[in-house]
């Protein structure tokens, strides 16, 4: 830690120098300089983030089908519908939000803890380490369509391989993985963990390699055992990485779509129809884009609140 601070102090120019080379008074042109440098990004940010966000808000205030000439202004109707029991969208929307919430709740702890364990193991010196690193990461390169269809067939109740092998082992061979709860959640969370744990593992591995080995040596000298070294050296060293992994995993889990769309297809009934799936259904298949946009903003608001809470939690700990 100490060495890092020294490096940072050296690298950082004094604030005064930043104003202009040799202490000259800043000219108009030099005031513009930072913005010119930022312009390429700002242009892209404006076109692909700011504009769609504002345009989406505008859409959400209408009954919007991009192909129909009439797009009647409905004000906040699309939003109030989402909070009015008995409206067309109320029940299915909150049902889908609940499904997304459950999926996030079940998958995030697993996706934070299992990759950490895998990373700790893969960080050891042993024969074939690189092979295992590759194997754990491999599923991540597959698309969601591939893993979705793969697991749908593997987990099929009556013709799937998973139930077949369970039967061979003398276990029940008629578990309705894809169309009954709670099995449906296992069918969604399990493949997701298998599929994406490689990504978090790689991030953890990078974090682990950044921890100064001198700290472990010092802890050993002080008589800390393996567990205490993990608790007092590894975990604090990984804190920024953990914050990143948790935030990114929550956002990724809350954006779940492909798995539910392909593996359970929302079954039973609408129980595993997740938020994005319902939003896509309403917006892109039924072309009720105003209503779908309103739902997206409600979902985004939820995610923003969770992310902020997440940051606040970790910052608090750091103090």
């Amino acid at each position: 830690m100490a060495t890092q601070n020294v490096e940072r102090a050296e690298a950082e120019p004094s604030p005064r120098k930043g104003l202009g080379v040799g202490g000259r008074k800043p000219t108009d042109a030099s005031l513009l300089t930072p913005y010119v440098f930022m312009a390429p990004y700002l242009v892209l940010f404006g076109i692909f983030i700011v504009f769609p966000v504002l345009y989406g808000l505008w859409i959400s205030l209408h009954n919007w089908d991009y192909l129909l000439p009439g797009k009647p202004w409905v004000g906040l109707q699309n939003y109030t519908d989402l909070f009015t029991p008995g409206s067309v969208t109320f029940e299915p929307f909150w049902q889908s939000m609940e499904a997304t919430g459950k999926f996030t709740l079940y998958s995030v702890p697993l996706l934070v803890i299992i990759p950490l364990l895998v990373a700790l193991i893969l960080n050891q010196e042993f024969l074939g380490r690189n092979f295992f690193r590759t194997m754990y990461f491999a599923p991540y390169v597959l698309g969601v369509a591939v893993i979705g269809i793969l697991w749908r067939y593997l987990l099929d109740t009556n013709v799937g391989l998973v139930n077949y092998y369970l039967g061979q082992l003398g276990l029940p061979d008629n578990i309705p993985w894809t169309n009954e709860l709670p099995w449906g959640w296992i069918a969604l969370v399990g493949p997701t963990v298998w599929w994406t744990l490689g990504f978090n593992t790689v991030i953890y591995l990078a974090g682990l390699q950044d921890i100064d080995p001198a700290l472990y040596d010092a802890a050993k000298v002080d008589g800390a055992n393996r567990w205490r070294r993990f608790l007092h050296v590894t975990l604090p060293g990984l804190r920024p990485i953990l914050l990143f992994v948790i935030t990114v995993t929550i956002l990724a889990s809350a954006n779940v779509f492909g798995q539910a769309y392909l593996i359970t297809e929302g079954a039973p009934g609408d129980d595993t129809q997740v938020a994005i799936m319902y939003i896509a259904e309403v917006g892109l298949r039924n072309f009720k884009m105003g209503s779908a946009a309103a739902m997206s903003y409600v979902l985004a608001l939820f995610l923003a609140v969770i992310s902020v809470a997440n940051f606040a939690l970790f910052r608090y700990r750091e103090d």
Binding site: D65, L67, L68, P69, K71, N158, N179, G269, D270, R285
Partner: protein, 443 residues
């Protein structure tokens, strides 16, 4: 951002029209819709004498049917020196999102295929143009086609599709499994008594003879077929209310649920599991669309086809139909329109060939041809044409089915809800959606 045709485009299109005509504003109704005024014009469709053009032709034939259509397109392109057709295939569910987006950005296909029940939605959204004049130019009449199919292509007084085929539902029976169960593989069950008798016999031999799919669309197609057989309807006359929760609907769904409860079908049959079990000689009967003929053949199943067994009080079976449509492409080259007509006409005339893909040609002459007559599996299912049913021609009707009916049928078949409760609940949800759709498409 409504699709207004500029004066120039309008003139260009009319100018290119030899005998083509443009509907003058008759005032009121759909004629206020600019897309309706914009008939396709240009060319008689009997031949094409214009300069060399390249047509882009989109469809969703991603299954066993794709190679057949591709072969027909290649044959057409090699025969016609002046027309090159490029075929682009997209899975149907995505297809109905992609085509509207492509058309609105001016990059849509020149000619495309759509299902008959999607024509009203796409007509209302101005994705496709009326093709009354195509039908006129090609001298196509009701009497050339199977009447139900020909009439189902009309929305608000205009024709939007030229029917290519009809693909009815029907019974597929696995001869090996029937034999194993002690049944005569030459005699598929055709009514309720025979069907239940066959299932009982199979059950005695430890075979679950009819796997009931729980997931849409397979589950909903069976439900709709039964609903019609029991004398019910999906919607009331003016399509303002869902009526699938009638006694007929409850009887239909209860019959399906009972098959599962009584062990004639496994529980929780997932997507396509009944088809896989059929191919693997685990399932004796599949009730599904005619397009399964090729996939089942390719999987090596020893099977036959028969009309849907009559479970209810009358004959009825679900069907759909592929139709040629002309997308509403801004500033379309009149030569391309003329070439498209010729292409449609050519494929339509040769649609007996298309039947090999597991389809029934919509055109009488193609059905009467020796090519089609020699296709026994297709012919067995074609007998049902006099009593096929389509969903009503109303924009957005597919969404109502997906959002309300599909989950209800699913929940009942997973034994999570009583049939009547599931249908009642979904019908009231459907009524709200129908109302919303009316407001949307009338606005």
């Amino acid at each position: 951002m409504g699709r207004r045709v500029t004066r120039q485009e309008f003139l260009l299109m009319s100018a290119g029209a030899g005998a083509g005509f443009v509907l003058a504003g008759c005032g009121g109704g759909p004629e206020e819709n600019p897309a309706v005024q914009q008939q396709t014009g240009a060319g008689s469709g009997k031949e094409y004498n214009g300069p060399k053009v390249n047509l882009s032709f989109w469809n969703g034939f991603t299954g066993g049917d794709g190679p057949f259509m591709r072969r027909m397109v290649e044959q057409f392109s090699s025969q016609e020196n002046n027309i090159d057709v490029t075929m682009n295939t997209v899975e149907w569910p995505e297809y109905y999102q992609k085509v509207p987006a492509a058309v609105s950005s001016g990059k849509g296909p020149d000619v495309a295929i759509m299902h008959i029940d999607t024509l009203p939605t796409n007509a209302a959204r101005q994705v496709i143009l009326p093709v009354d004049d195509v039908a006129n130019a090609l001298k196509l009449k009701k009497s050339d086609f199977f009447p139900v199919v020909w009439e189902a292509g009309i929305y608000e007084g205009h024709r939007y599709g030229i029917p290519l085929d009809v693909h009815p539902f029907g019974l597929f029976y696995n001869k090996d499994v029937m034999e194993k169960g002690g049944l005569d593989p030459g005699k598929p069950p055709q009514d309720k008594v025979e069907f239940m008798g066959a299932l009982e016999q199979l059950k005695g031999k430890g075979i679950q003879g009819f796997w009931v799919p729980t997931i849409t669309p397979g589950s909903t197609w069976i439900f709709m077929t039964l609903l019609w057989q029991y004398g019910g309807e999906l919607y009331n006359e003016d399509v303002t209310e869902a009526t699938w929760n009638s006694d007929a609907g409850v009887d239909a769904l209860t019959w399906m649920v009972d098959l599962i409860k009584q062990g004639y079908s496994p529980k929780n049959v997932g997507q396509d599991a009944e088809l896989i079990a059929f191919q693997n000689n685990k399932n004796a009967f599949v009730w599904n669309g005619i397009w399964n003929i090729i996939p089942f053949r390719d999987a090596g199943a020893n099977y036959g086809t028969a009309p849907s067994p009559e479970i209810g009080s009358e004959k009825a079976t679900w069907a759909n139909s592929h139709n040629f449509v002309i997308p509403n492409k801004r500033g379309q080259d009149p030569h391309k329109i003329a070439a498209s007509k010729f292409f449609i006409s050519w494929i339509s005339r040769n649609s007996a060939e298309w039947a090999k893909a597991g389809q029934v040609p919509a055109r009488d002459s193609a059905r009467a041809s020796s090519t089609f007559q020699s296709l026994e599996l297709q012919n067995n299912l074609a007998q049902q044409l006099p009593y096929v049913h389509f969903p009503p021609p109303v924009p957005g009707i597919g969404d109502v089915q997906i959002q309300a009916l599909d989950p209800a049928v699913n929940e009942a078949l997973l034994l999570k809800k009583e049939p009547k409760a599931a249908l009642d609940e979904s019908a009231s949800q459907a009524n709200q959606l129908l109302k919303e759709n009316r407001q949307k498409y009338q606005a």
